[in-house]
């Protein structure tokens, strides 16, 4: 058994692309599914097509950016209180 075979399939480089393709297909399917079911939006803004997909993506990006920004001010080495 050589070094490559010993590694789990998740860690093999050639599979990374397949995982991304598979993931993208699933994402696409959830958006397409919106065409097939009747939505009952409670607010006007939620009537936009694929609102939840766009909103989920953008709000997460915003939260990561905000955390990163806040991190500049409040991050300290993890032995900060021991010194």
């Amino acid at each position: 058994m050589n070094e490559m075979e010993k590694r789990h399939w998740l860690y093999r480089g050639e599979n990374l692309k397949k995982i991304w393709i598979g993931g993208s297909v699933i994402l696409l399917l959830t958006v397409i599914a919106e065409l097939l079911v009747k939505l009952h939006p409670y607010f006007k803004i939620a009537e936009v097509f694929a609102f939840h997909a766009i909103y989920g993506l953008l709000s997460c990006v915003a939260m990561i950016l905000f955390a990163k920004l806040l991190g500049f001010f409040i991050k300290r080495r993890d032995d900060y209180y021991d010194r």
Partner: protein, 563 residues
């Protein structure tokens, strides 16, 4: 009345206090049987007021059962049983005893019908949970436990002040719905909010819990914050302020968890985040929202304990807690990883898991009440939960880069506890009726509609996409994030050091000044009254007699002139 003897909380409190005196073999049986007894008692006692007693002239309702308290006691009982199965062979005797008293006190708070009984067990909970933290036996846990008890004693004082004022104002000790419109109810609310992990003092939770042992944190995650949710549900339903406090807690939890490196601190911040959802639901205050908050407390206790059992197993087997030191563990710990992933899916409210059927009740309540901003924030927060707990925890612990660590799955009893809780997360998700039937209000809400499942999957999967697109930004660093505890861990000690130093300097100056003043005074007195001093010389009788005659003569002269 025989029902009054079947108090589910006292079984555990007394059982925990007796535990240290029981031998090892019987102890194993003891810790597993008593939670079962508690659960049986919980379901055989009738609803209503089951025990009263008089204390200082007040009629106290020590034991009151209704659908809301039974719901919470049930999940506390299930939690105690599974927690004991998880660690009864591995945890120390002191830890098992503290955990039992802690669980029993939480149950007794839930069953208290008056404020004084509630307060007594509220404090018992604070003390026993501190012992639970200390039982980890490390220097860090000793210090963290000390900070934890300080904060909770402060909260206890605030709560007691509020209760005393309330009893004086209303003449009643009964614990029922209140409105924060005067000092007493504000203080009681503040005391409750401290335990729920509300700002600004949320930091006690992520500071103390992760310093407990691998199993201690499993118990800690369940009781303190959820009894606080219970008392808010009963005491302050529909208090609008709670919506905003809840929303703050939700985003505080997400942002701090995103910055965190320690896997158990990630999960601790996530407790604040999840409890924030419940607090927000209580603030919305409709029957659907209150049902949602109660249901979410129920499901949250189970999936959060599952996540912490999974993290605890990793800690137990590897001794490591930091994301930067872990990774790739799914290869050698398949059961732990699978259970961790199921917990992560449940906390993220994936369809077919317990989180989906509980959290969605609260977002639906926000929509029904036309609270657009609240609804938008709750949706963003749902996406954020998947980001910080749903993906981040399993990804960095079990997947990401291969750390090279190859620990095996933990011992049998720990695996059993995890598998049972993972199964419960899915069972409640698939058959929501089990939970909906025991909620305080009748449930008409239907979680599984095609459009709800589709939009929820969109929301979650696209936040997953955000995680992997921004993965370079998510890489962990060996850092912590400053929080409000900085004020009492850094600023106050430094102020104290500075003020002690300055006082010592001033004291030195003052002492030398006082020294020189007193030396001068002594010398002056010495010149006057010393052995050769002017005023202490002895005089001869004739001289004295002469002086007396002279004075008398002078007096005579003055007298003659006067008249």
């Amino acid at each position: 009345m025989t029902a009054s003897l079947l108090h589910p909380g006292l079984v555990l409190v007394l059982g925990g206090l007796l535990l240290p005196f029981i031998g090892v073999t019987w102890r194993h049986l003891w810790v597993l049987v008593l939670p079962i007894v508690t659960l049986v008692f919980t379901w055989i006692v009738p609803e209503g007021l089951l025990a009263t007693y008089t204390f200082l002239g007040y009629e106290l309702q020590a034991f009151r059962v209704d659908s809301l308290s039974r719901l919470f006691v049930t999940v506390f009982g299930i939690m105690t049983l599974a927690g004991m199965v998880f660690c009864y062979r591995q945890a120390k005797r002191a830890e098992l005893a503290a955990a039992m008293v802690y669980a029993g006190s939480a149950i007794s708070v839930t069953l208290a019908g008056d404020l004084l009984t509630l307060f007594v067990f509220w404090e018992a909970m604070a003390i026993s949970s501190t012992f639970l933290i200390w039982s980890a036996g490390t220097e860090k846990s000793r210090q963290a436990g000390m900070r934890y008890i300080m904060i909770h004693l402060l909260g206890g004082v605030v709560l007691m002040t509020g209760i005393t004022a309330y009893v004086l104002q209303t003449g009643s000790t009964e614990f029922s719905a209140m409105t924060p419109d005067r000092s007493s109810t504000w203080l009681i609310l503040a005391g409750f909010l401290l335990n729920v992990g509300a700002p600004p003092l949320s930091a006690w939770l992520p500071d103390a819990y992760p310093e407990a042992s691998f199993s201690g944190m499993v118990f800690l995650s369940a009781f303190t914050t959820k009894t606080a949710v219970y008392v808010l549900l009963r005491g302050y339903p529909g208090t609008e302020l709670l919506i905003y406090i809840g929303l703050f807690m939700i985003f505080y939890g997400i942002i701090y968890a995103l910055l965190e490196n320690d896997m158990r601190r990630i999960l601790a911040y996530s407790i604040v985040n999840q409890v924030g959802f419940m607090v927000c639901g209580i603030g919305i205050g409709t029957e659907l929202a209150l049902n949602g908050a109660a249901a979410h407390a129920f499901t949250h206790i189970i999936y959060k304990a599952l996540l912490l059992m999974s993290a605890g197993s990793v800690l137990f087997m590897t001794g490591k807690r930091k994301c930067t030191e872990l990774g790739g563990l799914f290869q050698s710990m398949p059961v732990t990883a699978a259970c961790g992933v199921i917990g992560a899916l449940a906390i993220s409210s994936f369809p077919l898991t317990s989180g989906f059927i509980s959290k969605s009740m609260m977002t639906q309540a926000a929509a029904d009440n036309h609270l657009l901003m609240v609804w938008l924030l709750l949706q963003a927060a749902s996406a954020g939960v998947f980001l910080h707990a749903g993906i981040k925890f399993p990804w960095f612990v079990f997947f990401q880069k291969d750390s090279g660590l190859r620990p095996s799955d933990p011992p049998m009893n720990m695996r059993v506890a995890m598998i049972v809780f993972a199964a419960l997360c899915i069972l409640i998700g698939v058959v929501p009726g089990i939970l909906y039937n025991i909620l305080p209000y009748p449930v008409e809400y239907v979680p599984y509609t095609a459009d709800h499942v589709v939009v929820q999957l969109q929301l979650l999967l696209f936040s997953g996409l955000a995680f992997f697109i921004m993965l370079p930004w998510m890489q962990r660093t060996m850092t912590i994030s400053l929080d409000f505890d900085w004020f009492y861990r850094r600023l106050l000690p430094q102020l104290a050091t500075v003020s002690i130093r300055s006082w010592n300097m001033i004291k030195g100056q003052l002492l030398s000044l006082a020294g020189s003043v007193s030396w001068r005074a002594r010398m002056h007195l010495h010149t006057l009254y010393g052995p050769r001093g002017l005023l202490s010389r002895s005089m001869q009788t004739d001289v004295v007699a002469l002086w007396v005659i002279l004075f008398l003569a002078a007096y005579l002269v003055f007298y003659l002139f006067e008249s």
